[in-house]
């Protein structure tokens, strides 16, 4: 529903019952006042000679009093008017009340007729209205019986049965009757121009005042639509400090938020695309080398030449590197995803070292590199993500093997320290890494493509992962020249607290 229509309907829905209730209240007040006026005037009339006249001729006694005005306009008490009723009405009684100089509220009350009743509620006057239980009960209980009803032509009849301050006689009770013609303003709603005009003016004012508001809302709606259509590039105008401006401001904030998220998402997607492209490249390169080796071997076999062990070794090495690379890519993806992807469970470093050695021994042996390990006699438990930790240690060991010299050595030494910690060292006698490169590896956060090259010294994705895993587990990593001339990579960290 449109705003204006809704407002207009609400106003009508509130105004109509309110007006109706007010009219009801006004009627009831007026009725009560009228009752009191009639009672007072009837009493005074009967006491100032009315009784005598009534009792003298109860068969014909009946009074038609002059029309009375409401008490708030009356100058004095109504005239006692008695005597046998005449059929010629007095000038005061004739015609509908005039709406003259007194204005709409200054109209006169219609005339009141009085009829006598005796103690048995029987009237000697044949013109007297019929008596009923309601009136009798009212006069016996409260001293005044009241009856109101509408005639068929819409006129309102008001009967008041009064007990006179004397006992017996044909005029013990007096019934005062007043008939309000149907067209009288006391019946139904007050005239339309009294309440209709202000209501109409109010409604029009509201609808007109709403115009600019609706206009601004429409403009804002259009701007928001245009903004969303442009990928939230286009801003909306904010002016003023009212609720609509507030709404516009809120949208501006939402727009900024959405833009930030979209930018973030796009950056992530770009990273992912780069990652995928580079990964493909990284896997394809060793795969190409491997295919080349296999093809060469096949050619040699066909030619009946003996297989060269170097070729075979190189092929194995490429396959091994590829497996490691894919593991590293998986690890990188998990590290990128952050904490929820990282497990936190007890890991036995002894078993981990043994697995790492088992994995790389088949590559180290043909290269004539002695791969050895030393671990404590009892399991060395730490908390962490087994796959990531194994991958980290594995990367360091594989680096040492790949860049080790023939007849060289690589050793993995695991020791527990006295301070509830462990010390895991990977030592080699290979070419080592220069001071400059060592600090670079530790200080620099490898990101994106920089971390992915195989050179120099293979500190590419592999060492990037080592660095991240160590950081993630709160461990420390140091790189130093080993006492045998090569490189020594040391990991230190806390042991798992003993259970219980």
């Amino acid at each position: 529903m449109k705003l204006r229509l809704r407002l207009a309907l609400t106003a009508v829905a509130v105004t109509v019952p309110a007006v109706f209730a007010l009219v009801q209240v006004e009627h009831s007040v007026r009725r009560r006042t009228t009752d009191e006026v009639i009672i007072a005037s009837t009493m005074s009339q009967m006491q100032s000679g009315g009784r005598e006249r009534c009792e003298a001729a109860p068969e014909t006694w009946m009074v038609r009093s002059r029309a009375q005005r409401p008490p708030w306009e009356r100058e004095g008490l109504p005239d006692g008017n008695g005597g046998p009723p005449s059929n010629t009405p007095r000038p005061n009684d004739e015609g509908p009340p005039k709406l003259g100089a007194r204005g709409p509220l200054g109209r006169r009350l219609p005339p009141v007729s009085l009829y006598p009743f005796d103690g048995q509620f029987v009237s000697r006057n044949p013109q007297a209205p019929a008596m009923d239980e309601e009136l009798r009960k009212g006069v016996q209980d409260d001293g005044v019986g009241v009856r109101r009803y509408s005639k068929a032509d819409g006129a309102l009849v008001q009967d008041l049965l009064l007990r006179m301050p004397w006992e017996g006689g044909p005029c013990e009770y007096v019934l005062a009757r007043r008939v309000e013609p149907a067209e009288s303003p006391e019946v139904g709603l007050p005239p339309l121009y009294i309440w209709g005009v202000p209501t109409f003016i109010l409604l029009s004012a509201m609808v007109v005042a709403l115009g600019p508001v609706v206009q601004r809302l429409r403009r804002l709606t259009e701007e928001v639509r245009a903004s969303s259509g442009s990928g939230y590039e286009q801003p909306v105008t904010v002016n003023g400090s009212d609720e609509i401006a507030e709404l516009a401001r809120a949208f501006q904030q939402a727009r900024a938020e959405i833009q930030a998220r979209m930018a973030h998402q796009q950056a992530r997607e770009q990273t992912l695309r780069d990652f995928l492209a580079n990964t493909t490249h990284d896997v394809m390169t060793p795969l190409t080398v491997l295919q080349g080796h296999l093809a060469a071997m096949q050619q040699r076999m066909r030619a009946g030449e003996p297989l060269e062990s170097g070729l075979m070794l190189s092929a194995m090495s490429e396959a091994h590197y590829m497996a490691s690379l894919v593991h590293n890519l998986g690890a990188a993806a998990r590290l990128e995803a952050g904490a929820p992807q990282v497990q936190h469970a007890p890991v036995d470093l002894n078993a981990l070292v043994s697995r790492v050695l088992g994995r790389h021994q088949p590559i180290a042996r043909p290269q004539r590199i002695a791969l050895e390990s030393g671990v404590p006699a009892t399991p060395t438990w730490v908390m962490g993500d087994e796959t990531l930790l194994e991958q980290a240690v594995s990367n360091v060991v594989l680096n040492s093997i790949r860049y080790g010299r023939e007849d060289g050595h690589v050793a993995v030494v695991l020791e527990s320290t006295r301070q509830q910690g462990f010390n895991l060292r990977v030592i080699d006698d290979g070419p080592g890494i220069s001071e400059e490169d060592r600090s670079r590896i530790l200080e620099r956060r490898f990101r994106g493509n920089e971390a992915r090259t195989r050179e120099p010294q293979g500190q590419g994705l592999g060492l990037h992962i080592v660095h991240n895993v160590v950081e993630l587990h709160g461990w420390k990593m140091t790189l130093a020249p080993s006492e045998y001339g090569g490189l020594e990579v040391a990991f230190t960290g806390p042991l798992m607290p003993p259970p219980g």
Binding site: A319, V326, R359, I363, E372, P376, T387, A411, V413, L414
Partner: protein, 224 residues
Amino acid sequence: MGDRILLVEDDDPLGSQIVGHLRGAGFEPVWWREGRLLVAGDLPDVSLVVLDLMLPGTYGLDMLKALRTFSEVPVLILSARNDTLDKVRALKLGADDYMTKPFWPEELVERVRARLRRPTLQKEQAVVEVGPLRIDLQGHTVQVQGRPVELTRVEFELLAALARRPQEAVTRQWLVEHVLDPEREGTERTLDVHVSRLRRKLGPVKCVETVWGVGYRLVPGEDA
């Protein structure tokens, strides 16, 4: 014939390769091409199970769970997924070890051997025999080829420490901390001196091997 090993592997080339390598290493493999929900009695008499986690029909973990309800046979898991959660779950369900694909055949055979060897290693033996060496850990006596050898206390402790973990390298630091007299400020140099004395006393048999970068190891040795 060697130990019987049950291999559960759905991939044909990989399965036949593993079977070949196990047979080459002296084992007797039994190959199932699909997972089965085992109940007691279904399992053939095998010393070890090699189980691939990704199986059609029955998921490897379910099979492991069912197996563990009635059998304590060692289980070695093969997993293609580089996911720790899977491994943790498998180990919780009672797997003894796992291997991540790809692996070298040599690596697998090594792991199978290690797993089969384990139970005998766990017992603390009173007498250890390594090659020509016979070390009585309680009687504190050592014989080489039946000939008794006199050792100092430190030399004996050194040999005993290596003998308790035969074929394994023991780090120098550990030996310095646990074997040398703590009151005499032992260093690795001191340790090396003791080792060379011990070697001389053990004669021509080269049982105490230096492990590069790590420490020492007791091996059966070969006659010089």
